[in-house]
């Protein structure tokens, strides 16, 4: 009886392990994503007072402001479930929904971290904001394993007289 169970287990092990990874990846990834989004939304509310412009020219100040380069950078990894779905998507084409949310989170997080730096400097305006994303692949394959988002701009601090 035990040998029967063992034989079936051994035969189906590859399927079982992949299913296991998928389940773990899905559950853990979904939890991480949800809590990250909650954090993003609450911080966006808190830092809403800091204005970010993609405009190169700063708005006019009474006195020339103190300026500083502020940077927000974040690296987020996708989970097994996302990678698997993206692999299937590669066959059929279309929106890679599994990666879209990844990039959305990464960009918003990068902007928030940049605003955080500006906030600590006492700045209320950041101009010339630029965002760059780049994938960090791990060796073999076209699989996007993690993505880095990098947001930078010039923070302007009102000079105290």
């Amino acid at each position: 009886m035990e040998t029967a169970i063992f034989t079936y287990f051994a035969a189906f092990f590859p399927f079982i392990s992949i299913a296991g990874f998928l389940i773990v990846g899905f559950l853990a990834g979904r939890r991480a994503e949800k809590s990250h989004y909650d954090s993003i939304v609450s911080r966006e509310k808190r830092l809403a007072a800091i204005l970010a412009f993609s405009e190169k020219t700063p708005p006019p100040f009474d006195t020339p402001p103190v300026s500083a380069l502020v940077v927000g950078s974040v690296v987020i990894s996708s989970d097994y479930f996302k990678n698997f779905t993206a692999g299937l998507r590669n066959l059929f084409g279309g929106r890679m929904r599994s990666y879209e949310s990844l990039l959305d989170r990464a960009r918003r997080e990068a902007i928030l971290r940049m605003k955080q730096e500006a906030d600590e400097l006492g700045a209320r305006y950041i101009c010339n904001v630029r965002i760059e994303t780049s994938p960090i692949t791990q060796g073999g394959g076209n699989q996007i394993v993690c993505v880095e988002a990098y947001a930078y701009g010039t923070a302007l601090v009102k000079r105290r007289r």
């Binding site: 040998t3 029967a4 034989t7 079936y8 035969a11 189906f12 590859p14 399927f15 992949i18 899905f26 979904r30 939304v41 966006e44 509310k45 809403a48 007072a49 800091i50 204005l51 708005p59 100040f61 009474d62 097994y80 479930f81 996302k82 990678n83 698997f84 779905t85 692999g87 299937l88 998507r89 590669n90 066959l91 059929f92 929106r95 929904r97 599994s98 879209e100 949310s101 990039l103 959305d104 989170r105 209320r124 305006y125 073999g140 394959g141 076209n142 699989q143 009102k158």
Partner: protein
Amino acid sequence: MGEGYENPAIPEGINAPDEHPLKEFAWLSFGALIIVIALVWLIAGLGYLAGSLIPFETETRIMEAIESLDAPSAPLSLREQKLNDLAQKLIAADPLPQGMSVVLREIEAREPNAFATLGGRVYVTTGLLDMPLSENALAMALAHEIAHIRARHVISSLSRGLLMSLTMNALFGAQESSIASSMIGQAGVTTELTFSRSDEEEADRLALKTLYNCYGHIADATAFFEAVAAENGLAVEFLSTHPDLRKRVEAIGKRAKENGWPTQGEITPSPFR
């Protein structure tokens, strides 16, 4: 300074999907599976048909070319002579199609096994000849391999395998080691195994007929299978090339009953004992 500028909360769901990710996953997996299975059936069928169109003489020429690369083979040993005599006895009772011939050789191996390759070559292991089987039981094993040759299974499944791997590589080879593409490959392999099992079932069927034609009954036809099943444990049919051993034994019993072939009769002792 900066009056009038607002920072409203950006609406969600535009740049990131609102849908549940499992929905996309289910759709894609289902679609991929259906396509793989349909493709496998289509390509396998074509490959199999194409193989059976290759003439037997071509098989023989291929094998002769391959064999000429080795040292010239020794003449048949005494045991191999007896093997070929038994094979000819079976063929006399159930003749092969025009132009086909078989030649049997013994292979040094402890596992009891027999297999047929191109050009009517059949190899039988020492382990099989050492088993305490009657001539009838051994004849069933030989008739099974001869049936593979008779039905052109070897060349057909080779052709099918070649076409399958060409197609799979052409379609999915561009994917570099994606987990998804390996899962798809696994689905293809598992479907291929069902074809191999149906070949085995057909060989069992033809072999039983040969046995009946030769001896007038099918006594001891299942002795080989029963001996092997007793030794090994369970195998998972889903993942193997042959049908489950017990199923084969049952199928033989059923076929005998359908055709009214007696399952008892005089058993000839093995010429190898």
